[in-house]
């Protein structure tokens, strides 16, 4: 049975380490915050200028001056600090963030990612995504393995305009996990969702990858 959205997020959360500073994108990535292992200190960054994101506020705590990068109202923690957008992206671009989890429309077998525009459709803009994929130490993409139309999303080469070139380290889909040890190496299939077979992944993937499954 493939992983659901929360299970995908839970699998991504297994990549967290004590003391990590992490930026989470919108959608499934946001769910990673609910899956931080107990006893582990993980600090969440919001690229609009905050380190130490707390949960959504209670109704009577809502503060228009306190939002995340998705423009949702949030709350602060004891360890929170605020800073400017320029300082925030200095932190991101400078490689100080340990991990980011974000969604994608397409991932290429060489690590390219496309997640910001579809030609012919209204372009909303890349926001901070290009900075995150260029600057953060480890880039994890979480996405459905195939599009709603059933097309593979992990493919030989991106067809959509890129967000970043050769930047992705790990892909977690509803079916499986791909990982590569460095940006010169091919992706390897390292894990399957329960009941999913390597054959099924092969059938639903057009990207080249290696198989490196460990027997359960």
């Amino acid at each position: 049975m493939p992983w659901d959205r929360n299970q995908i997020a839970a699998r991504a959360a297994q990549e967290l380490r004590d003391g990590y500073y992490v930026n989470l994108g919108i959608g499934i990535p946001t769910l990673v915050a609910n899956n931080i292992p107990a006893g582990m200190t993980v600090t969440l960054q919001s690229e609009n200028g905050m380190l130490g994101i707390g949960p959504f506020p209670y109704d009577d705590e809502v503060d228009p001056d306190l939002i995340n990068a998705g423009k949702q109202t949030i709350s602060e923690l004891a360890s929170t600090s605020y800073f400017s957008s320029s300082d925030s992206f200095a932190m991101i671009r400078g490689g100080h963030i340990d991990l980011t989890v974000l969604g994608a429309m397409e991932i290429a077998e060489n690590g390219d990612i496309a997640n910001w525009m579809i030609p012919g459709k209204m372009i909303k803009g890349m926001g901070g995504a290009m900075d995150l994929v260029a600057g953060v130490k480890k880039i994890i993409v979480v996405m459905e393995h195939n599009s709603k139309a059933g097309d593979p999303k992990f493919i030989p080469a991106c067809t959509l305009p890129l967000t970043g070139k050769n930047v992705v380290d790990m892909i977690i889909t509803d079916l499986c996990v791909f990982h590569r040890v460095d940006h010169d190496s091919p992706f390897r299939l390292i894990e399957l969702a329960p009941g999913v077979t390597a054959e099924e992944v092969r059938a639903k993937t057009t990207a080249h990858y290696e198989e490196a499954l460990v027997a359960a």
Binding site: S46, E47, N48, G49, M50, P55, F56, P57, Y58, D59, V62, D63, P64, D65, L66, I67, N68, G70, K71, Q72, T73, I74, E76, Y82, F83, S84, S85, S86, D87, S88, F89, A90, I92, R93, D112, M117, M122, I123, K124, G125, M126, G127, G128, A129, M130, D131, A134, G135, P161, L162, T163, G164, K165, N166
Partner: protein, 235 residues
């Protein structure tokens, strides 16, 4: 040296002209200079180029200037949630330069710091790199991005002292801090003016040198785009 003006129109007097470039602080509707935007709308100045992370929403924030067709070009990273923007953009009536959010913040910080250009990894190999110089440093490619230095910066701060020292509040700091430095003159709107000497000099976010003209814009509505909350557990 009196920096405090009676209202936004007075604070902008003599600074506006058709075809000018403006840096506008804020992220979404958080920390936007509402009063100054209103006064720019009322002035009728047009053909504006505005560097701002977002373009407001329909009839809020910079959305107001889009509605009145005063904007020729936006330099932004994200322009969703804005129907009138979409209409003008798709009709080719509005020019848009998409700029990655961190690159936009850094371009303003650089422009304000006397740096006309810098290299960044962000956008290498993407549409953003088209037409830009690529340089290799230590085996990695970077693109050259230009500093932005506008004719006018309009920003919103939380508090100012009478000398012009500024403090921002929580995530309303965002682009206001770098953009305040990135123009020939910066006009600031604040919620409150406090006596000089009442701020901790170690806790000032922007020294008085940047705020040349100020207004108190209170009371503020502070619109929220996505109100998200959680429930208190029952006692």
């Amino acid at each position: 040296m009196q920096k405090l003006y009676p209202d936004a129109a007075a604070a902008l007097d003599g600074l506006l002209f058709d075809g000018m470039t403006i840096c506008a602080g804020g992220f979404g509707l958080c920390g936007i200079p509402e009063r100054l935007i209103d006064a720019i709308q009322a002035s009728g100045v047009k053909d504006l180029t505005i560097a701002s992370n977002n373009a407001g929403i329909d009839n809020e924030g910079l959305g107001k200037l889009l509605r009145t067709r005063q904007v020729k070009k936006m330099i932004s990273s994200y322009v969703g949630e804005n129907k009138e923007f979409e209409r003008q953009y798709l009709a080719g009536e509005l020019e848009v330069e998409f700029c990655p959010q961190g690159t936009l913040a850094e371009r303003c910080r650089a422009g304000g710091a006397g740096i006309p250009g810098f290299y960044t990894k962000t956008g290498v190999g993407t549409k953003v790199a088209e037409g830009k110089e690529v340089k290799n440093f230590d085996g990695q490619d970077y693109i050259l991005e230009r500093g932005i230095f506008a004719d006018l910066a309009i920003v919103k701060a939380w508090r100012a002292d009478e000398s012009g020292n500024l403090q921002f509040r929580k995530t309303a700091r965002n682009f206001n801090q770098p953009m305040a430095t990135a123009a020939k003159i910066c006009v600031v709107e604040v919620e409150e003016i406090v006596p000089t000497g009442s701020m901790d000099p170690d806790a000032i976010h922007l020294p008085s040198i940047y705020a040349k003209r100020m207004i108190v814009g209170a009371p503020y509505d502070k619109k929220i785009e996505f109100r998200t909350t959680r429930q208190r557990e029952a006692a």
